[in-house]
Each structure stands twice: as C-alpha cells, then as structure tokens.
C-alpha cells in the first residue's frame, strides 16, 4: 500500500512507554484490538468458575507473551483492583443467601462471596488481556488502528490531540510549579496554598486556550478545512491472521465450556 513504514518498525527512543519487542507487539494493532475486545466481551458474559479461571490463565499467558515486566504490570492491575475492592468486600453482605459468618448482626452469604469472586476474576482477566494486547501499543499507533477500524474520526482526533499535547501541558505545569518553588512556595493546608494552586490551574487553563487558538491559526495557515487526514495504512500479515484465528478459537472454546457447564 503506502510507502509509509509502520511506526513500530522505526527506532523510537527506548524510554517510550510500552515499547516492546515480544512477538505479540509485532502483530497488527488492529488484530490485537479486536482480539482484546472479543476476549473482554466473552469473559464478561461467562459465569462458571472453570471458564473464568481459564480466562485468567489465558490472560496470564498473554502477559508472558507480551514481555511486559510482570511485577510492574501486576502492580498496575492491583491498582485497578483497589477501585473495586470496596464493592467486593460489601457484596457478600448485601446478597441474600446461605450465611457464612455474621458481623454486628449483618451476615455474609456464600452466594455473595461467589459473585464477588466472579467479578474479581472477570475484571482481572479483562484488564490483564487489555494491558498485554493493547497496552503495549504506542498511543499514536492505537489512534491509527482505531481510525482504520472505522472508529468515528472525532474520537480518534481527540485521542491524537491528547497524545500530542499532554506532554506539552505537563511541561508547562512543571515549569510553573518550578517557578513557584523557586520563590519559596511550599504547599501546606492554608488559604495561601489553595489560592496559589487555583492560580496555577487557572493559568494552565488560560494558556491552553491560547495555545489551542494558535494551533488553530497554524492549521488555517496550512489550508485546514475541518478534515485531518491520517496517512497510516496497515496491512495484515499471515502471522496476524494465524494469531486472530487461534485467538478466536480460544474464545469459542471458552464459550463452549461455559455452555456445557450451564447445561450440567
């Protein structure tokens, strides 16, 4: 197709987040996104413990294949778990059923515990697979892949502009923060701190608006008419097709396992 080589194929600085060399990272980003979405939808619909444990095992296998640093990745997963921790703890107490134990007159049920475990397994399987398949992608590549998967252009551009300018904004924030520090600002719990941080945020907002106007001007200077062309084209290799086929087979196996379990 086009002569534009893939971004992943060129030398990016190695400090780039998620720049991986595992075979999983070599696969077509579109195939990886579709597999991750397929896996997520399947896992969410399954209910039997056997299937869910198998799904977690698959996700762990993907994690190994992606060559993400396991410790860091699992820590990120735990960070996600902390969001649902409260719900998982409360669930046994709120679902009616056969009681396990009673605390202050409120009893926890086996059914609730089972449900909480199911949710934990599902969430972790999905998030692990997502990190292994999609999280290893450069954000820019993700944008291009979503574009070629016909995700609405507005959303893709929003992602692209975010990727492009988040670092610029962060640097602006750091500069302002440093300038405050240089004049002896030390945050504490007082009105002066609140007001100063308010000024900082307000200034960031004003600068961002002004920057966006300058960007708009620069775009107009180059004949912008409301449409941003994205040049990247992907092409599927045999490896991608084999991977997608095998992964689909895996998903179907999960579904069959679930159906057999439900029939019993």
């Amino acid at each position: 197709m086009s002569g534009i080589p893939t971004i992943t194929g060129t030398a990016l600085p190695s400090n780039a987040p998620g720049h991986q060399t595992g075979w999983l990272a070599q696969l077509d980003p579109r195939a990886r996104i579709l597999c991750a979405v397929g896996f997520a939808v399947t896992v969410v619909t399954c209910d039997s413990f056997g299937t869910l444990v198998a799904a977690v095992a698959i996700a762990l296998a993907l994690l190994v294949a992606s060559r993400l640093p396991p410790r860091q990745t699992l820590r990120r997963m735990v960070a996600m778990d902390s969001f649902i921790l409260f719900m998982l703890i409360l669930l046994p107490f709120t679902v009616p059923g056969e009681p396990i134990l009673t605390i202050w007159g409120i009893s926890a049920s086996w059914e609730g515990l089972a449900q909480a475990t199911r949710i934990a397994l599902k969430a972790n399987a999905v998030i692990l697979a997502l990190m292994a398949l999609v999280g290893t992608m450069e954000p820019v590549v993700l944008g291009h892949a979503l574009h070629s998967l016909r995700v609405p252009a507005g959303l893709v551009h929003l992602l692209m502009f975010t990727v492009r300018y988040i670092e610029v904004l962060r640097q602006e924030y750091m500069r302002l923060r440093l300038a405050m520090k240089a004049r002896g600002f030390r945050p504490s719990t007082c009105w002066h701190t609140y007001r100063s941080v308010g000024y900082l945020l307000g200034m960031m907002l004003v600068r961002s608006v002004e920057r966006s106007e300058r960007i708009m001007d620069a775009m107009k200077c180059r004949g912008f008419t409301g449409h941003i062309p994205l040049m990247k084209r992907f092409c599927l290799s045999q490896n991608d097709i084999v991977f997608a086929a095998l992964f689909s087979l895996l998903i179907v196996t999960l579904l069959v396992g679930e159906a057999l379990h439900a029939a019993v």
Binding site: V140, I215, C221, G223, P229, K232
Partner: protein
C-alpha cells in the same frame, strides 16, 4: 509588482492601546526583510495580519497583486506565504513528522501518493529523512524548528514569514538553520532579535516603533554592515 504591499495598517487588541498605527511595508521578490522592535512592538501581529489571521482596523493589505479583505481572499495568500510560528509546538500537531508535512499538501487537494512524494522530497532537500517517521512531540528543539520549516515548504510558498526562528536554538542548530534558509529562493520577512542571524540573512532592515515601520538610521561606523 511587489509580493506584499501593506499600507497605513492600524491595529489594536481590545482594551489595549493601538499596537500598529500606520505601518507601511513593501516586500519584493528576492528580498529578505528583517523586522526588529522591542517586545510587544507588534512584530508577530504584523505577520498575522499579512496572512489574514488578524484583520487590520484600518489600512489595506495587498498580496500577490491583489487587494485582500475577506477571509476567502486570504486562503490563497496562506498557501503562497508560509508563516513559521514562534513556538514549534503550536505548529506541529500531527502524530508523526510525515503526517504533519503532508497535512498542508493534502488540504490543497493533493492525492495521498503525491503528498507522500512531497514529504520525501522536502525532507530530502532539508536532509531530514531520518526524522520522517518520528513522533513529533519527541523531537528536540532544533529538530522541531527544522520540521516546522519543512511543513511550510511542503506547500511551495513564494514567501516565508519567520517569527523568531532562532528562539531557543543552540549555536549549532542556528548555524544549520541559517544555512538552510540561505539556500532557499523565497522572499522572506524575518522577525528576529538576534543581530548575528539578521546580518547573515537579511537584505534590509525595518524597525517597528510606536506602530510605524521605519528604516533604521545608517550605522555610524563605516565598518559596520547594514542589516
């Protein structure tokens, strides 16, 4: 026929004293006019008025032999007069260098294939092919500056408008930029605080003071060079 002819330009930002008060400027083919002036004198404003990003409250802008008034008049001006912004981060907004350079040509109706051709030829001319697929926000300051120049050159302008092009460049990168600009045939308007840079490139100088462009007094020492 001059490329640009600004006469009696008046402009002021809301709630502030007028910044341009009767500025005149003529730019002929082959000229490289340096504009100097203190901070906030209205140098960037002048460049923005030239490409119609700001509309003067008084006076006329003529570009490429035609008087320009409405937004639609300026579409053509913006293609033929490439404005290089002060902050490269304002100008480079596409994810990759190749896409950013192709943005202009694609807007002008080039096909994908010919846009890619333009990208390659511009990058080859500036000896920047190694940056082609880099992510724009990870470029160094010097690389960003040269890539912004490439994005503008891709539209094959007749005039270059450079707003503080040496801002935040080290000596090596500045020398590189001078070399690149010196080899270009385009007429230029260069806003710069850097006397060395002006001396290397400019063919004449204008000073923006109190809203008016004037020819600076000739140097007192006869050994001093003019721009």
């Amino acid at each position: 026929m001059p490329l640009f002819e600004l006469s009696d330009i008046h402009f002021g930002y809301p709630h502030r004293p007028p910044i341009l008060a009767g500025a005149d400027m003529v730019l002929d083919a082959g000229e490289r006019v340096c504009v100097t002036g203190h901070n906030g004198a209205g140098k960037s404003t002048l460049l923005r008025i030239m490409v119609g990003l700001l509309r003067p409250t008084g006076g006329t802008v003529a570009a490429f032999g035609q008087s320009r008034r409405e937004e639609a008049d300026f579409h053509d001006v913006r293609r033929r007069a490439g404005l290089v912004f002060q902050d490269p981060d304002d100008q480079l907004f596409c994810p990759t260098v190749a896409e950013d350079i192709a943005f202009g040509p694609l807007n002008l109706g080039a096909s994908r294939a010919s846009a890619i051709e333009i990208v390659d030829s511009v990058l080859t001319r500036l000896d920047l092919m190694h940056l082609r697929d880099r992510v724009t926000h990870r470029l160094s300051g010097g690389e960003k500056r040269l890539v912004t120049l490439a994005t503008v050159l891709a539209m094959e302008p007749d005039v270059l408008l450079l707003d503080e092009p040496t801002n935040a460049l080290d000596e090596e990168n500045e020398a590189r930029l001078v070399e690149v600009l010196d080899a270009l045939p385009q007429a230029m308007v260069i806003v710069s605080h850097d006397p060395h840079f002006r001396r290397r490139l400019g063919t004449r100088s204008l000073r923006l003071k109190e809203g008016i462009l004037t020819q600076p007094a000739p140097p007192k020492c006869r050994n001093a060079s003019v721009p």
